[in-house]
Symmetry: C2
Subunit: 406 residues, 2 copies
């Protein structure tokens, strides 16, 4: 019998009716003769509500206690989903992260999975039960409850698929697949049939965080084929795998963007090899995610460095930078990042030039640029973000139905 892992996100289990709908989707795969392991997130806004409760008590609640608190959200979902399956006449059993054997490193709030002891899951599968695992959580060697950070349920699903050598790992979400860009902003956005892991990684923030980057990395490392699909509609979704056969001729596969970006510039840094590591280690230790980094150095002068962060981290970033002596810090908020992504870029020079021309034609000033082999990112004014995406979507022929399903 084939083992299938299905993951349902918070929106998919956001109400009793939706939980019952999820039960039906699970039963379809069971009736197809599969062993099914299901990973679920907390219902709807539960996690946010728990965070709000904690914030009423403390501005900086202990990460250990936050894990204790937040891990209850998924535990509620798994119990209710198991009951819904029972009610439909199917055998199901729910398991918390620690019961499912998900072992993590000894870090709270953002732990990585280090191993999965699948014996308990196998025992239940052999008894013919549907196994429902709480996403987003695990346990350390010493019996502490940990969480994997936001998007952790995707990682749980992929890690379980790898550990169980599952035949499929279906990520059910509130969108029907991975799109060329976010359809909520750009009407011309189209669903992709297939996408590679690397492209998916670069597009990770498309479609309201449809798939968490850590989960994609995990899938890539263990060669787990994913399908991103809708929990409400039955159409096929987007397959995420290593080699993709179709659409290879598309230079740009999708356009990613995010708002609430701030650019920080530090001038007058003392020279020396340790300056940059000192800054970015200090930021990393505070959990601040730095995205684009641009350094300019002129001989005889002090160094200057610019980097982009999420605007919500600005306050803490400035605190960290205050501890540096003799430097001048400037920042600009209300920015957005717009990126074009596609593995076809590698063999197509001039893509960056084309991107800059498209933006220039729209009168959009580029404030930062960063490139990788399959992605070119630009930072622009937040109010120009959607216009930039629409122009690029059209210019790189993503509007057209070029060898892609609709």
């Amino acid at each position: 019998m084939a083992v299938i892992v299905q993951k349902f996100g918070g929106t998919s289990v956001g109400s009793i009716e939706r939980i019952q709908n999820v039960a039906s989707r699970i039963i379809e795969e069971v009736e197809n003769g599969n062993d099914v392991v299901v990973v679920v997130s907390a219902m709807g806004k539960t996690t946010d509500e728990l965070v709000q409760l904690a914030k009423q008590i403390s501005n900086q609640p202990s990460k250990r206690e936050m894990d204790m608190l937040l891990s209850t959200g998924e535990q509620v979902s798994i119990a209710l989903l198991a009951m819904a399956l029972h009610e439909k006449g199917y055998q199901a059993v729910s398991l918390t992260g620690w019961q499912a054997g998900i072992k993590t490193e000894d870090v709270h709030g953002n732990a990585r999975i280090i191993d999965i002891d699948t014996s308990r899951i196998y025992k239940y599968l052999q008894k013919g039960k549907i196994v429902i695992v709480a996403g987003f959580q695990g346990m350390t060697e010493s019996g502490e409850i940990t969480t994997l950070g936001r998007g952790g349920s995707d990682t749980t699903a992929v890690a379980l698929a790898a550990a169980l050598r599952a035949d499929k790992c279906d990520i059910y979400t509130d969108v029907t697949g991975v799109f060329t860009t976010d359809p909520r902003y750009v009407k011309a956005a189209r669903k992709l049939q297939e996408i590679s892991y690397d492209e998916m990684l670069e597009l990770a923030n498309l479609g309201a965080g449809v798939l968490h980057p850590r989960a994609v990395e995990f899938a890539k490392n263990y060669q787990v084929t994913l399908e991103v699909r809708s929990s409400m509609e039955k159409e096929r979704g987007t397959i995420v795998k290593e080699d993709i056969s179709m659409e290879q001729h598309l230079i740009v596969r999708g356009i990613a963007f995010e708002d609430q970006v701030t650019r920080v510039t530090v001038q007058g840094l003392p020279k020396g090899l340790q300056t940059l590591p000192t800054i970015f280690t200090a930021l990393a230790n505070r959990g601040i995610n730095v995205d684009i980094i641009i350094q300019s150095m002129t001989s005889n002068e002090a160094t200057s460095v610019s980097f982009s962060i999420s605007t919500e981290d600005l306050h803490e970033t400035l605190q960290v930078l205050q501890s540096l002596q003799g430097v001048k810090v400037e920042y600009e908020s209300r920015l957005a990042k717009v990126s074009i992504v596609g593995s076809g870029m590698i063999s197509n020079p001039g893509v960056a030039a084309q991107m800059f021309q498209v933006l220039a034609d729209c009168g959009i000033e580029i404030k930062m640029v960063s490139t990788s082999e399959i992605k070119i990112s630009t930072v622009v004014a937040q109010e120009k973000m959607v216009a930039a995406v629409e122009a690029l979507h059209e210019a790189f022929q993503l509007d057209e139905k070029t060898a892609v399903n609709s």
Copy 2:
């Protein structure tokens, strides 16, 4: 250093403000130089809300999955309380039932504690931390999450006090102690300074279930002295212990009552030793609590038996009885049970007669009677319940300030 166990019920942690208040009560004992282990229930109506969620999915949800679901309620409380203590500058750590080493039998919904491995709690106490344990829950040998049934947090507290050989076990609740009868119904009700375990057991349903009978039994078996007191007010509460010195001359210590009682009568039972065990085993297997049982048998005739149940169990009781052949089942709902309790009764004949006379003088018909060494229970019409309690409270001199604090 003395170890103190404090237990706070759902009302005491029903809001963020109340959790902060509980943190202050804990800190008082810490500042007195004590090692403190705290047991908390789920916040306010959380458990009821979770039960309602489950009922939207299934009329008879799996007990295992109910345990999975309900145990999240206490987990939220312990995390928030730990954060509140951190915020006030104290070291605290929360532990779920399984993390606290609370081992239960392999039964869901109503498991008994079989052992407590206190090593993890001691480890944290030695590090100077306040240890906060989720009440109402434990784990089986095979790693299943269990709950102890309603009132289980009291049992957790007493069991921990016994296992840790604690010097005190304070049960904080929303009343200031144990009363001669429920002050919400009878204005003349008075708070008792002391009460014995046995009297407390018989009075268990006084004052909105101020202390769960299982917890009292546990306390009696392990000779744990309890104090029932208010989490909001600082006055001393009621001490529950084996031998009580004062108030011995009081024949009746308190008057307990409950409404929603139904009397069921089964007529035409076939003769034979197995008839009664069959009925009551079948009821017990369905978790139906039978209270007073009265059997009348006349030679040559079939047996008849009456018993009282909680009205909410009536539907299920009738289902069980339907399976018996050739019997006639009658029932009367809208009844109440009124009991007088006191260890002084043993040596005072005529107490029952006096009780019956008081009720007769009020024109209250007695529908069932049951007696134990320290308790006499009567079943009366529900609408007469409060009148019966008031009349008995006065007749047995509980209104007077006879050698008791006010």
